[in-house]
Symmetry: C2
Subunit: 215 residues, 2 copies
DNA sequence: TCTATCTATTGACACTATGTCAGTCTCACG
DNA sequence: CGTGAGACTGACATAGTGTCAATAGATAGA
């Protein structure tokens, strides 16, 4: 029966998703480092051994959460872009979207940060090409916005490669958010509030992309 | 005898340093995650249990390496500043120094990145105030350079708080290096070489700080 | 010199978590 | 039925962390 095999696959995907759900809840609550496979198994009401049927190891489970995180991020980027017409505004909106994303889903941002920081050597078992620099799909949204901006004149035309510019903007923004997320308290002690920090960074980035007479 | 107690303290510090040395070598060779207390103990020719006399736990050992890393970073910053007179040039030199530092001591940069990313909640047992945002001492060098730049006219005067600007520059630069370190291969695949990436970022940062008619 | 004592050092233990595997359970199909 | 494929599990082996009682070594004082 072909549609039985189909059902099997479907069931398998559901189980897998349930596991990721459970893992994600724990991740959000306690941080990845203190989530054990046992806890995940219990939360999903399965035996620990079964997790290893669906995921090669702990890292691959985190990787699965990462895929969700990147997908969500891309969605937010697209929504942000849709709210503006001028390219420069879109780029700024993307930056702001990244910030609110990090606030709304700290654990998602955490995965992104780990993907970004550790080699993440696309395990041979999984869908390899899925994640490159920072979720290709997401970065492409930025590139598009930049291209739009160059076309409508809101972004300086003399930036070189839009891809290079996009990756750089990404790195800048990521660095700012990461610092804000981890060191909010220390920043406060220096008289810097998170919103001020974020707004300032965003303004600087905007001025970087805008043509000479500031826009 | 007072000078005997003194000798004791000295010996203790030497031992401690030996342990950190061993740990650091392993860190540099294999990355912190795959360094075990056992390996450190063997490398230092001590029993594993003794490590716990000198360091509360594995994290505190890494922390000790972090102190060295931050000290080294500050040194590099100071050297970089000393090679220039105009504030803007000093700031740019600091950024470049951070990049070469990351190349020269990848494991030191790795510790910095972890300090920056994880709360690093200054353990009550150790010298707490030692590390705030990113090794206060290091960031102060940046602040000084910015102040110098404002004074000599090479840096836009209308940036607000120099501290805010310094922290932001730090975050930007850190983000760029982190991405370059971890994703060099993927960047290359996008046609972006590390040097180009770094130089471009540095140029952008410089243009951010320079007064309107680019300097 | 002998001994009390203090500190550095260690072997062995308890605990936690990971990943594996042989074996059990379930159920659609012949 | 009963059988075979795939879902599922209990129990094991391994590895690493942190702790503790006990040992070894040196020093000051009798």
């Amino acid at each position: 029966m072909s549609y039985l095999a189909e059902r099997r696959v479907e069931e398998k995907e559901r189980r897998r998703a349930e596991i990721v759900d459970a893992a994600e809840r724990l991740y959000a609550k306690k941080g990845w480092d203190s989530v054990t496979m046992d806890q995940v198994a219990k939360a999903a009401r399965l035996s620990r051994a079964l997790l290893y049927v669906y995921f090669r190891d702990r890292d691959e489970l985190q990787f699965a959460i990462g895929e969700r995180a990147l997908e969500m991020l891309r969605t937010r980027f697209i929504e942000a872009v849709a709210r503006h017409v001028r390219g420069l505004d879109q780029v700024e909106a993307i930056g702001r979207a990244y910030m609110t994303y990090a606030q709304d889903f700290p654990h998602y941002f955490d995965v992104c940060a780990r993907f970004q920081a550790h080699e993440m050597s696309a395990q041979p078992g999984s869908n390899e090409g899925a994640c490159a620099v920072a979720g290709d799909a997401a970065i492409l949204v930025v590139v598009d916005a930049i291209r739009t901006g160059i076309a409508d004149g809101s972004v300086r035309a003399d930036i070189g490669d839009p891809m290079l510019f996009a990756v750089t903007l990404w790195a800048f923004t990521h660095g700012v958010i990461q610092l804000a997320m981890a060191k909010g308290a220390d920043l406060a002690r220096l008289g810097i509030s998170i919103p001020r920090f974020g707004d300032n960074a965003l303004a600087l980035l905007r001025s970087m992309g805008a043509p000479r007479p500031a826009g």
